[in-house]
């Protein structure tokens, strides 16, 4: 995939925000975020629960008025052109929003009526989308009888029914099992190929964020990084290589002397960071003078990126131990005790 073509240019920007803020009482859920999304991009918001992802999506979808800042979606201002924005977007919420007492097809028809989809397009489109989501056979079943994955697929079909320019997916695979998650992603990427659709999604799953063209890492209401997933990972300085050797100090010295690599001894191994470690290692093994007992190479994950940017892990939602200790020591009471 050629990511260079996907960098937003002025002419094809479909979402753009500038200093978007949302307050809830005294807490600031979104603290002035600015970004833009290009047409046809899969753009992800990655962050822990409570980071402000859903708040941002709600503002972009006109369900929540921003406290400050500007944003346009599909070229329309989210404050003054709400109806136009609503017409241009499809939205799949985190929690189900289907009428479970109606059948799948009744839910879709309601949506078609609400968006004024012309009759001749409607039935064909419903057929096409239900087929794509593998739900056509169940079209006349009550949604009540559907599994979580089927409901999510039906909602995605519904969100696309009126040919939106942008599809918003708020945690599209939350609470689904890994197989279903995989399938949902297959549909989403399929769709993007077929319909020149822009997809804006939020997630707190690292592996899902990898599917995005670009991701914005959001923490405590602020964007802390925004780039292609590969670029974000490369920004950490490459793969983490750990060598198990007889003579740790000797190895550190040799790595520095021969390759100018600053390695350190961590947990009985010699660690260093290097982009493209897989190509580098065979040469090293052939000519290294210390005996190498074992090698591990680990690609940095987005979790590592998140950790290095925010000081806490995205998954457990708690500060890393060092950070926690530092915070603890920085509290005024502690300081006076230490002094």
């Amino acid at each position: 995939m050629n990511h260079e073509q996907k960098t937003p240019s002025v002419s094809e920007t479909v979402i753009s925000t500038a200093g978007l803020v949302r307050n809830f009482g005294h807490t600031q859920a979104v603290k002035g975020i600015s970004f833009s999304v290009a047409e046809g991009e899969v753009f992800g918001f990655l962050g822990p629960n409570g980071a402000g992802k859903t708040t941002t999506i709600s503002m972009l979808c006109t369900l929540l008025a921003p406290s400050a800042g500007e944003a346009t979606v599909a070229g329309f201002d989210i404050r003054s052109k709400r109806t136009e924005v609503r017409r241009s977007i499809g939205l799949v919420f985190q929690d189900p929003t289907l009428d479970e007492y109606l059948t799948a097809i009744q839910n879709l028809r309601f949506h078609a009526y609400a968006y004024g989809v012309p009759k001749r397009v409607r039935d064909e489109r419903i057929y096409e989308l239900l087929n794509l989501m593998e739900l056509w056979d169940r079209r006349n079943s009550s949604v009540r009888e559907f599994s979580g994955g089927m409901k999510r697929r039906l909602e995605i079909a519904r969100g696309l029914l009126h040919h939106p320019r942008i599809l918003f997916l708020d945690e599209p695979t939350l609470g689904l099992d890994p197989q279903t998650r995989h399938r949902i992603w297959k549909y989403v990427l399929d769709l993007r190929r077929r319909e020149s659709l822009t997809i804006f999604l939020t997630t707190h799953y690292m592996d899902e964020a990898e599917n995005c063209d670009r991701i914005a890492i959001i923490d405590k209401g602020e964007i802390v990084a925004l780039d292609r997933p590969e670029a974000l990972k490369d920004s950490l300085g490459g793969d983490v290589v750990t060598l198990r050797v007889e003579d740790g100090k000797g190895a550190v010295a040799e790595l520095f002397a021969r390759y100018e690599l600053s390695a350190s001894i961590e947990g009985g191994g010699v660690c260093f960071k290097l982009p493209g470690a897989e190509e580098f290692l065979p040469g090293l093994m052939r000519s290294f003078s210390c005996e190498i007992l074992g090698v591990t190479v680990r690609r940095p994950t987005l979790d590592d990126v998140f950790l290095s940017l925010t000081g806490h892990s995205i998954r457990d939602d708690r500060p890393a131990t060092g950070q926690q200790l530092r915070r603890y020591l920085n509290t005024p009471g502690m300081k006076s005790q230490l002094n």
Binding site: H111, Y113, A114
Partner: protein, 276 residues
Amino acid sequence: MAGLLLRQSLRGIWVIAYRELLRFARERSRLASTLGMPIIFMVVFSEGLKRQIGALAVGVDFVKFMYPGIIAMSVFINAIFSGLSVVWDREIGFLKEVLVSPLNRSGVVLGKALGASVIALFQALVMLALAPLFGVPLSLRIVLELIPIVIVLAFSLAGFGLLIGSRMRSQQGFQVLVQMVVFPLTFLAGVFFPVNNVPRWMEIVSKLNPLTYGVDAIRRIFLVGEISATGQNSGHSIIGVTVFGHTTTTIEDVALVGLLGAALLIGAIFSFNRHT
């Protein structure tokens, strides 16, 4: 531009009403409960009290008196449940699907009111079809007069239901409100007894209660002919609501409920706009 806005609102009204009716048709339990209750009231009270209570006016026995009241009650309950439907939509998340669509908010409120009114009218007509079973005579005039009056009452009560529903977050809250406010008001609206001949305190409460005028409007359709033909019983009239010596007419009854209802509906639209 104005034409587009109107088209948008009209589409909202019918799409939302369409779904209300679809829901109603698919939910057998709701159909059974809303239709069952008035019938049970009718059968139990008329059979139970028929021999205890004589004619309330010449030619008007208790069953003939209560029957129009039960129709009115069924209309009230069905119409107020439009508010429950909003709360329900909010709980199941479906409201979000509606709110993020290009339908405008006023259309959504009016659509809910229309859906509830059609359901209320349907149930009133079912009750009407059962009239011969209770020995209540029917005529084309009764049917033709009943339809518009039921629609006005239903829209008005839907306005009340939606005004509350737009603010409530839980179904339980709404149910409690119905039991604490709507049932007492219904019972004090002259469904089971004439409000012109009750203890003073009850008379005051009943005459301040707008539902009383709604019940009266429906009762007049059925009883006006019979009573004028046979002459009024002395003293207290069993139709018309007497306020400061003036006894209301059908037009006055309907106008009072209708105007109040229009105000409530407008209030519901504002409230819905603000709280969503």
